[in-house]
């Protein structure tokens, strides 16, 4: 593709609203666009996207492409990709940013391959090199043991940014922007896959991704039963329960509990780990927590290198005593 101009965010809607991940990535895109002196656009997909478009402008977009088709009412990956590809080819952005959400982790690589360009995957940070217009991306590799700094060689430069890294901009309803209607011709024959059933497996109560306090358990718990004790502490603190991959692989809790590189990324104020060793693959999902607490019998465990507060000891005794004290404190 020819040399492009501008930064384009591939947006996602959540009902009638702009998704939180899209709000975050608009903030990332705003900074890059300002540094390069270019425009920030966002593509929103759907059959009726007016409210979403206005929200996007208030949160930093100069331009909103309202990509519309009757077939875009529900997210369907091949239709969404075809629409995004058409928009990218017609508007030739220099940089494309995608939030690495459930949808984005599939859309970003497939879009980059369709455009014949590289993708900086799962970035923790993106910044513009103003000397050459390159987008520099920091991304964790080797399970978070290392960080790679990469850039794309062709235009458009595409990056998928990890959610919960950037904070959304404060909405400013006075901001001005342009909404451009971009109808696309889609065809049902593009659809190669269909969702036929959705099965929810989430714990009741506060969602893991939204909780301000998370109590998480690992391999050292030794079985599924101790999760009841973790749940008790989480309930007292108004938090949620998470788990390491080892606990999920052992079948102690469903996959939706998993925190880490291949599980959920969470950023609670307080992340309390019980018998979790703190492998980099786990830390990749929780390193954005404001404070981490470690309860582990192994003083050499990696988790103590990442934790703000730690107790070295038998988790069962420490957790029981901690829970009792928390109960007294919250009842006061």
């Amino acid at each position: 593709m020819a040399e492009g101009n501008g930064v384009l965010v591939i947006g996602e809607s959540a009902g009638d609203e702009l998704s939180l991940a899209s709000q975050e990535i608009l903030a990332a895109g705003r900074k890059v666009a300002d540094d390069l002196g270019q425009e920030l656009a966002i593509a929103v997909f759907g059959d009726a996207v007016d409210a979403v478009a206005q929200a996007a402008i208030a949160q930093g977009a100069d331009k909103v492409y309202a990509v519309t088709s009757p077939l875009l009412a529900q997210f369907q990956v091949e239709l969404n990709l075809a629409a995004a590809e058409t928009l990218c080819r017609e508007t030739s952005p220099a940089i494309i940013l995608v939030a690495r959400t459930n949808q984005g982790r599939e859309v970003a690589p497939r879009l980059a391959f369709r455009l014949g360009v590289g993708l900086a995957q799962d970035c923790l940070e993106v910044s513009a090199d103003t000397s050459n217009g390159k987008l520099l991306a920091n991304r964790p590799v080797y399970g978070g043991n290392a960080v790679a700094v990469i850039s794309c060689n062709q235009t458009p430069q595409v990056a998928a940014v990890r959610p919960k890294v950037y904070a959304p901009l404060e909405p400013d309803s006075d901001r001005q922007g342009e909404v451009i209607s971009f109808p696309v011709d889609l065809d049902d024959s593009m659809v190669r896959s269909r969702v036929i059933e959705v099965v929810k497996e989430e714990a009741e109560g506060v969602k893991l991704e939204d909780a301000s306090i998370v109590v998480s358990g690992g391999r050292g718990l030794g079985g599924p039963e101790p999760f009841a004790q973790l749940e008790e502490l989480a309930r007292l603190l108004g938090g949620a329960v998470g788990a390491s991959r080892a606990a999920v692989d052992s079948g102690w809790v469903p996959a939706s509990y998993q925190v880490g590189l291949t599980g959920k990324t969470i950023t609670p104020d307080l992340y309390i780990t019980i018998a979790i060793s703190g492998a980099s693959q786990h830390m990749a999902g929780c390193s954005g927590s404001k404070a981490i607490v470690a309860i582990n019998k192994d003083a050499e465990a990696n988790i103590f290198k990442e934790a703000r507060y730690g107790v070295v000891g038998d988790w069962e005794t420490v957790l029981a005593s901690m829970t009792e004290t928390v109960r007294e404190l919250v009842q006061e």
């Binding site: 995957q121 990469i150 036929i196 990442e306 420490v318």
Partner: protein, 266 residues
């Protein structure tokens, strides 16, 4: 004709190796291959082998494992054969760097798949534990123009379609896709089976097909690098851990709760 299944698998540095053995050569911008620690088949790719073999358990299918890289430990890469896969195809060339640039790797694999006459179903691990790119499988599907379902925890092959239980953040969804299709799988699929003695004997006798760059139809544009690696480093954590001690573990637990209350966490 029996259905043809391919599994794409990568040889990686053992991610379970001791942290102390993890070293970066910052000039070469590479992770140093640890001496005396053998490489492994990428864990998620072993899940992919398992997914293929589960289909083979009840249906007449062939399972071909394809891998690309600059060098291979043959005994390591034969593991899928000893688990029960039928054939191994290694794309081996000094030029197949197989690290930062997923685009090249996907081109190589897609080219080999075409040369092998295509497959009804291609199963891959969700990502490799070295570069964690999660791009090659999706790229292969795009280059071949076939259906693609990511993050499966159960894969069933039916006459003209594949049915996948696909992980979503709050559970899973059941997705149906037309064939040919590519499916990526995650560890939630379950433990890969152990090689059997019979499998190991059979694998010893099997010779992999080995192709180099000249055996594959690749043009220059396809192999042009898409990414530039500027730096590779180990991040440093500067968190000071306050170890809370007490008269005993009961006291330490109590003091921890009080400390967190003092800091207004709850």
């Amino acid at each position: 004709m029996p259905a043809k299944i391919a599994v794409l698998a990568k040889q990686v540095i053992d991610p379970e190796m001791p942290m102390a053995a993890f070293q970066i050569d910052s000039n070469a911008k590479r992770v140093v291959t640890p001496p005396n620690i053998p490489p492994v088949v990428n864990g998620f790719d072993e899940n992919a082998v398992e997914a293929a073999l589960q289909i083979k358990d009840s249906q007449d299918v062939s399972v071909t494992v394809i891998s690309s890289g600059s060098s291979f430990a043959l005994d390591v890469m034969k593991k899928p054969l000893s688990m029960g896969a039928d054939e191994l195809v290694l794309l081996q060339d000094d030029a197949f760097d197989n690290s930062v640039d997923s685009f090249q790797t996907a081109q190589l694999l897609a080219s080999a798949i075409r040369k092998l006459g295509g497959f009804d179903l291609i199963i891959c691990g969700r990502q490799a534990s070295d570069w964690d790119n999660a791009q090659v499988p999706l790229g292969v599907a795009e280059l071949l123009g076939i259906s693609c379902v990511a993050l499966g925890k159960k894969v069933e092959l039916k006459d003209d379609r594949v049915v996948v239980e696909r992980l979503i953040p709050d559970g899973y969804e059941v997705v149906e896709a037309s064939l040919p299709a590519l499916v990526t799988v995650s560890n939630e699929l379950g433990q890969p089976r152990y090689p059997t003695l019979r499998g190991i004997m059979a694998a010893t006798r099997k010779r992999p097909t080995i192709w180099s760059a000249s055996d594959l139809e690749l043009d220059g544009g396809e192999m042009e690098p898409r990414l530039t690696l500027h730096d590779l480093f180990v991040p440093v954590s500067n968190t000071e851990c306050e170890i809370i001690e007490g008269d005993d573990e009961v006291d330490a637990g109590r003091k921890l709760a009080l400390r967190l209350r003092e800091e207004n966490f709850f």
